[in-house]
Symmetry: C2
Subunit: 497 residues, 2 copies
C-alpha cells in the first residue's frame, strides 16, 4: 500500500487525487468529505498527516472556502480528523479491522503506474510517450540475427533450465564490469529477465512489510511499485544534477533502513550522474552499514551522451557489497528481456535460487542473441548511443521551438527529458494531451510521495518523426491547457491515460 510519509499533505497533490470528488449526490461539502475519507481508507493519506489549509485546497479545487470548511467539519464530527486551533487539521490514524485481501493490496500498488497501463492496453491512435525504451530498434546487426537459429539448434541439445544464466553471457557481463573498473567474475553475475526482474528478486529476498526503503526523491517508477508492493515504507533523499545528496543519505542511514536504492550513472528521470568524488564518499559511508542492502541501478549507464560515467559504485573502497542491476533493454532492445544483478557470490547464489523458484531461468534464445549482440562490441554500442543522442537533440529543439515556456536541463544521457511546466497540473495536461493523440506520463509517478505534480517526463526513444509530431500535438494541447475552461469529459479520458 502506498504510504505517503509527508506530514503535510500538499494541496496540489490532494486536489489531483480528489479529481472525481464531485461525483455522487448530496451537498458538495459532504461529497468532498467522502472523497477525502476514501483516500484515508485507501492508505493514500496516513494518520498524523496535516491536511492543506482550507484556503489552499479551495483554490486548487476551484470551490468556495465554505465547502472545504464544511467538509473538514464533517470529518471532524466523524472523528476522522482532529482540528487543532491555530495549527491545522490532522488525519486520525485509522486501522481497518481485517487486513484487505492480498490481491487488493497488490493491485492498489500496481494501479498507480500508468506506464504499465500503457503496456497492457497499448493505445491504438495515440503517440505513446510513456515508456522510455527504444520503440523502433533499427540496425540490429544482421549477422547476429542470422546466427540465432543455428545457436538455438545447438543450445537445444541442453535441457534449457539455467536459472543463473548461460555461462557465456555471465562471462560477457562480467567482462563489461571489469572493463568499467569493477573486476568481476562470471559467478558474481546473475542473468535476469531485464533489470526489472533483477530489482524484483532483490526486493523479494530482502524487503519485508514495514521495512524502510530509501530511494531518491525522484526515481524509476517500476522500483517504487516493487517496494510499495513489498509493503515497504518509503523514505527519500534529495537528488539533483550531482546525483543523490550524500549528506542526506548519511543522516537517513542513522535510522538503519533495510535497503537503499540509487541510480548513480544516468539517473532516471533526471539524466544526471553522481561524480567520482561523491561516489567515494558514499562508498566509505556504506562501509559503516554492513547490514544495509544497497542497489546501484545501472540500467541507463550505457546511454551516456558525451562522457562515460565514473566507474561503478561497487568499485570504490567500502562498496564491495553493492548490488549492481542492469539491462540491455535501453541500449539494444527491450524485447530481449536480458538484464542482470552483479554482486557478491553468496548473494548471487541466493538470488539464483529465487530465480529458479520464480521462473526456472530466462529465455535461452534471448540469451544467445544477447551474447551475439554484445560481441558486436563498442562500435555497435557507439552507433546506438549516437542514435539516441540525436533523438534527444531533436526533442530538445522541437520543444524549444514550440513550447519555449517548458524548461528542462540537458541530461548527461538516458532516454528522456524531465520537463518543468510553467504552471498547472501535469496530470491535467496529460488528459488534454490524450485528446490530442499523445499518451504521456505525469512526473508525479516518479516520486514516491506523488510530488512533482508540475513535471512531465518525455522520452526521446521514438523516431525523430514521431518526436516532432508529438511535440506539435503537445503544443496544441498546451494552448488549450492555458485556457482555463474546465475539462468536461475528464472521466472518459482516464481510460486512455
Amino acid at each position: 500500500m502506498a504510504k505517503v510519509l509527508v506530514s503535510q499533505v500538499d494541496a496540489v497533490w490532494l486536489a489531483e487525487r480528489l479529481h472525481d470528488w464531485p461525483d455522487g449526490s448530496g451537498p458538495m461539502y459532504q461529497r468532498l468529505a467522502q472523497a477525502i475519507e476514501r483516500l484515508v481508507q485507501a492508505g493514500e493519506v496516513q494518520g498524523g498527516a496535516r491536511l492543506p489549509a482550507e484556503r489552499l485546497l479551495s483554490t486548487e479545487l476551484k470551490v468556495s472556502r465554505t465547502t472545504v470548511a464544511g467538509a473538514y467539519e464533517l470529518l471532524a464530527d466523524r472523528r476522522l480528523v482532529t482540528r487543532r486551533h491555530g495549527s491545522g487539521t490532522y488525519v486520525e490514524s485509522v486501522r481497518t479491522e481485517t487486513p484487505p485481501p492480498r490481491e487488493s493490496v497488490l493491485m492498489r500498488s500496481l494501479e498507480r503506474n500508468e506506464i504499465f497501463d500503457g503496456l497492457l492496453d497499448p493505445p491504438r491512435e495515440l503517440l505513446d510517450m510513456r515508456s522510455a525504451v527504444i520503440h523502433d530498434s533499427p540496425g540490429l546487426p544482421q549477422r547476429a540475427l542470422d546466427a540465432v537459429g543455428a545457436d538455438v539448434a545447438r543450445a537445444a541439445s541442453l535441457q534449457g533450465y539455467v536459472p543463473a544464466g548461460l555461462p557465456a553471457l555471465r562471462a560477457a557481463i562480467a567482462a563489461r564490469y571489469t572493463a568499467l573498473g569493477l573486476p568481476t567474475e562470471p559467478g558474481e553475475v546473475l542473468v535476469t529477465s531485464g533489470a526489472q526482474q533483477a530489482l524484483a528478486l532483490i526486493a523479494m529476498l530482502h524487503v519485508r512489510p514495514d521495512d524502510e526503503v530509501v530511494t531518491e526523491a525522484l526515481t524509476h517508477t517500476g522500483a517504487i511499485d516493487l517496494f510499495v508492493a513489498s509493503g515497504a515504507r518509503l523514505r527519500t533523499v534529495p537528488v539533483g544534477q550531482q546525483g543523490a545528496d550524500v549528506d542526506a543519505i548519511e543522516r537517513v542511514l542513522t535510522e538503519r533502513p533495510r535497503l537503499l536504492y540509487l541510480i548513480p550513472s544516468i539517473h532516471n528521470p533526471l539524466g544526471s550522474v553522481m561524480p567520482a568524488r561523491e561516489r567515494r564518499r558514499l562508498a566509505s559511508l556504506l562501509d559503516e552499514h554492513p547490514d544495509l542492502v544497497v542497489i546501484a541501478d545501472d540500467t541507463l549507464a550505457d546511454t551516456y551522451r558525451d562522457r562515460r560515467p565514473p566507474p561503478p559504485l561497487g568499485s570504490y573502497p567500502g562498496a564491495h557489497r553493492v548490488l549492481h542491476t542492469g539491462s540491455l533493454s535501453k541500449l539494444i532492445w527491450g524485447g530481449l528481456r536480458v538484464g542482470w544483478v552483479r554482486g557478491p557470490v553468496p548473494e548471487i547464489r541466493r538470488l539464483a535460487r529465487l530465480k529458479a523458484l520464480t521462473d526456472l531461468g530466462s529465455s535461452i534464445p534471448s540469451q544467445l542473441l544477447a551474447i551475439r549482440l554484445m560481441e558486436e562490441g563498442e562500435d555497435f554500442a557507439d552507433d546506438r548511443r549516437a542514435m539516441i543522442a540525436q533523438r534527444g537533440r531533436t526533442l530538445e529543439r522541437a520543444l524549444a521551438h514550440r513550447l519555449p515556456s517548458w524548461t528542462f536541463d540537458t541530461p548527461e544521457g538516458g532516454l528522456c527529458l524531465w520537463i518543468r511546466l510553467p504552471g498547472g497540473s501535469a496530470r491535467e495536461l496529460t488528459m488534454r494531451a490524450a485528446r490530442h493523440g499523445v499518451a504521456l506520463a505525469a512526473g508525479s509517478i516518479q516520486s514516491p510521495q506523488g510530488h512533482f505534480s508540475d513535471h512531465l517526463r518525455i522520452p526521446y526513444s521514438h523516431s525523430e518523426l514521431v518526436l516532432t509530431r508529438a511535440v506539435d500535438r503537445l503544443a496544441d494541447a498546451w494552448e488549450q491547457h492555458a485556457d482555463p475552461s474546465p475539462i468536461c469529459e475528464l472521466e472518459d479520458l482516464r481510460v486512455v491515460v
Copy 2:
C-alpha cells in the same frame, strides 16, 4: 517456512532429516537432542507432533534405544517436548520472539528442493536424472529456427515490453484450448516465462502467509516450494491412478482453504489422469466455492502416450473460474521458457499487471520461436510424443531387466517413472547413486509432508543411451545399497546430490 502437518512424525523421515546429528561434541544423547531441537526451531517439526517411538527411531538411526531415550528425556527437561505416559512424546509449540529475517525464511523453503540445486550446480561427471525435461531436443524444425532471425528483425521495430504476451502467441494458445474443448479468447491467456512463473504469479497474487493451500499428496515440487515460500500452510488430498480423490477434496473444502492446486491431466510424478466423470463431479463441487482459487496444471497434458486426456477441467459445468497453467517446455523445449495462464479476463488482467511489475514481459525472440514451433502443428507434436514414449519404454525395459525388485506403474504420459523401492531410504540411495555417477531426486521432495521416503522419481527425458547407462549405474549402486555397511562420506556427498 515448511510446516509439517503430520501429527505423527515418521521415523524414516526424521532419521533422514537428522542425518548429521552425530556431528559435534558431547555424549551421543545430547547431540541427538540438539539435532531434534534444531529441526523444531527450524519449523520442520511442529508443535503438537508426536515423535517416533524410541524403538523405531533407534532402529532407523542405528543407535541404542538408551541414546534415543536419553535424548527425549533431555528435551523433556528443557520443556521442548512433553512425555505422556502410554501415549508418546509430543513436541511443544515453540514461538521465536522475533520473526527470522525475510531471506532466511525464503532460503529455507528453497533449500528443500534438490532439483533446483542441480540446475544451479550442474554436475559435471554425473548423469543428471533430476529434472524431468527433454535434455536433448533433437529435431526442432529447421524452417522454424531459420525464421527466428527475420522475425526478430521485424519485431525489433516494436518496443519489446509486452507484459501479457505477443497477441499472435496468445491467440495460438487460445486456439489450442478451444481445440481441446475449452473455448478460449486471446484475452483469456497470459504468456509467462514457463509454467513455473505462471504458478509464481498466481501464488504472489492470492496466497498470504498462513493461508491454507490444498495440493495432492504427491505433486510438482516447484509448486510446493512456491506455496511454502508464500508462507502458506499446506494440506493434501490423496492422489492415485484416477487423479485426486474428489471425496477428500469435498471434505477439505468445507474448511474454506484459499487455493486448490491439482494436476488432472498427466500427473507429476504419477503420470495418471483424472477421468471425465471425476472432472465433472469436481467441477460441480467447485461451483459451490466461488472464493476458492483453483489451479489445474496442464504442464504435462500434451505428453500423453496413447490417449489424450479428457477436456480441460475448466470446460466442465461449474469450473469456468479454474486457472489453467501450462508450458511448451515439456513437449518442445525447456529453453524457450514459454508458458501461460488461461483464465477469466479480469484475473488475466490482474496477473498481467503483476507480470509487468515482475519482469515487464517475456522474451520476444522466445515468443516468436514458440509461435513458429506451434505452427508446425500436430504432426510435429505427434513426433515429439512418440520420441518421449519410446524413451519411457526404454527406461521401463532397462529397469525391469536390471532392477526387477523396483516397482512402478506404467504412466499414461509424462516424462518420469514413479518408482517404489522394495525397502530402505531413497535418500540414502541417491547418495550412493551419486558415488556411481547418477544424480537422482528422492521421492520425498514431491510430497508436501516429506513422505514417500521409499520412492524415487526417474525421468526418461534423456536420450536412450543415457537412460541405459544410468540404469546400469543405479543397479551397481543398488547392489551396494542392499549391503548394510554404513556410508562414511555422507557429508561430502550431499554437495552433489
